[in-house]
């Protein structure tokens, strides 16, 4: 029987061990069950000067999106790390279930032909 269920950020512990006990049925997992205050958790993505994409830097607490961006600026760009910031409330991130890792990722193991290593790249092509 395939168990279909939506998983959210925070459903799995830090280790990603996926402790999916059956009585732990949160329909929508609020990621803000932290101690201290009840501001929601936000994930921070920052694009560096050299980078072309936003990279996940970490998370922080903030009352709203504006505050999250400013907090991210203060916490994650103090040493000239970035030129652009994205934030998203952690509860909006859907996550894959580590228990399904075998069926999700293992099938790609023996398919070397999917890697573009058999092509010669022209010098003009950058950012590959």
């Amino acid at each position: 029987m395939i168990h279909i269920r939506k998983y959210y950020y925070g459903d799995f512990g830090e280790s990603g061990s996926g402790e999916t006990t059956t009585n732990n049925k949160k329909n929508i997992a609020p990621a803000n069950n932290t101690t201290g205050h009840d501001w929601p958790l936000w994930e921070v993505f920052i694009r560096s000067k050299q980078g072309l994409d936003h990279k996940h830097m970490g998370s922080l607490h903030a009352a709203d999106a504006q505050m999250a961006i400013e907090n991210a600026r203060d916490v994650y760009t103090r040493r000239m790390e970035g030129v652009s910031i994205w934030v998203v409330e952690s509860q909006h991130i859907h996550a894959s279930n580590p228990d399904e890792a075998e069926s999700l990722y293992d099938p790609a193991n023996d398919k070397a032909y999917r890697h573009p290593t058999f092509y010669d790249l022209p010098d003009e092509v950058k950012h590959m």
């Binding site: 201290g36 205050h37 501001w39 922080l60 607490h61 903030a62 009352a63 504006q66 505050m67 400013e70 907090n71 600026r73 203060d74 916490v75 103090r78």
Partner: protein, 266 residues
């Protein structure tokens, strides 16, 4: 006091000042004292992220103070350094506005004090970057970017608290009550400021008041806060060395090490 003779900075230079030195010290003292106040939040912020935010602002201000002190030391000559100016002057020689030295109070007092001051500093540095004195102009231009952020950060906090819960609204109302009487001094020029204006290197702070009030009104309106009477009675004195009792305690804290172990380094 006989210890005065040991000070590398002789008192006479502050009693009979070159207006450029005095004006630069005034700018430096404002930044240092408010920066020191903000730094008192380090490790005590309401949440980790805001602890870092207020400490960043504090470091920005202390950085500005260093630039101004280094310039003032260079102008003063003799053995003056940024450290002698920050650590070896007494309260009466400090020329910061009273607003900068007021205690942190609760978070509402701290963010409102920052908002009032940053709104002023923003307008001030905008003008100062066109100063005829290239060094002051350069420091102002560099600092303006930081102050723009301080203003934005503090404005949003005033709106957040004013338009927040009944408790946050009441707290920011109390803060307005406490701080409003210290805002008038910002726009009342001391003698050295008037001289600085007439010589072209300083800013006429009287002309900043209109824009400052407009900024306060805009933010207060969004924060659902009443704007107090701009003609209310205002405290003055800080710019000419007549301070509240709080400054002495700040200096005792800040200057203790250099006073007790002169020249101490680590």
């Amino acid at each position: 006091m006989e210890t005065n003779s040991k000070s590398p900075v002789s008192n006479s230079q502050f009693l009979i000042p070159n207006s450029l030195i005095t004006y630069t010290l005034h700018l430096a003292d404002n930044a240092l004292i408010l920066g020191h106040r903000d730094s008192e939040w380090c490790g005590h912020g309401p949440v980790l992220e805001q602890d870092i935010a207020i400490t960043n602002i504090s470091l920005d201000l202390i950085g500005q103070a260093r630039n101004f002190y280094q310039y003032a030391a260079q102008l003063t000559g003799e053995n003056a350094t940024e450290d002698t100016l920050a650590y070896l002057r007494d309260a009466r020689e400090f020329k910061n506005c009273l607003l900068a030295e007021l205690p942190n109070g609760d978070w509402a007092v701290t963010v409102l004090r920052q908002f009032f001051f940053s709104a002023y500093q923003y307008l001030l540095y905008q003008q100062l970057q066109h100063s005829s004195d290239t060094q002051l102009a350069a420091i102002a231009e560099k600092a303006l970017k930081e102050v723009t952020y301080h203003l934005r950060w503090s404005s949003e906090w005033v709106i957040r608290l004013g338009d927040g819960t009944s408790q946050s609204h009441q707290r920011i109302l109390n803060a307005i009550e406490d701080l409003w009487m210290f805002t008038g001094e910002l726009f009342k020029p001391a003698d050295y400021e008037m001289e600085a204006t007439s010589k072209g290197f300083g800013v006429n702070v009287e002309t900043l008041k209109k824009d400052w009030l407009q900024n306060v009104k805009t933010v207060f309106e969004e924060a659902t806060l009443p704007v107090p009477d701009e003609n209310a009675w205002m405290q003055t004195g800080g710019k000419t060395g007549r301070h509240t009792e709080h400054l002495g305690f700040i200096l005792a804290d800040m200057q203790f090490l250099q006073r007790t172990y002169p020249g101490c380094e680590w």
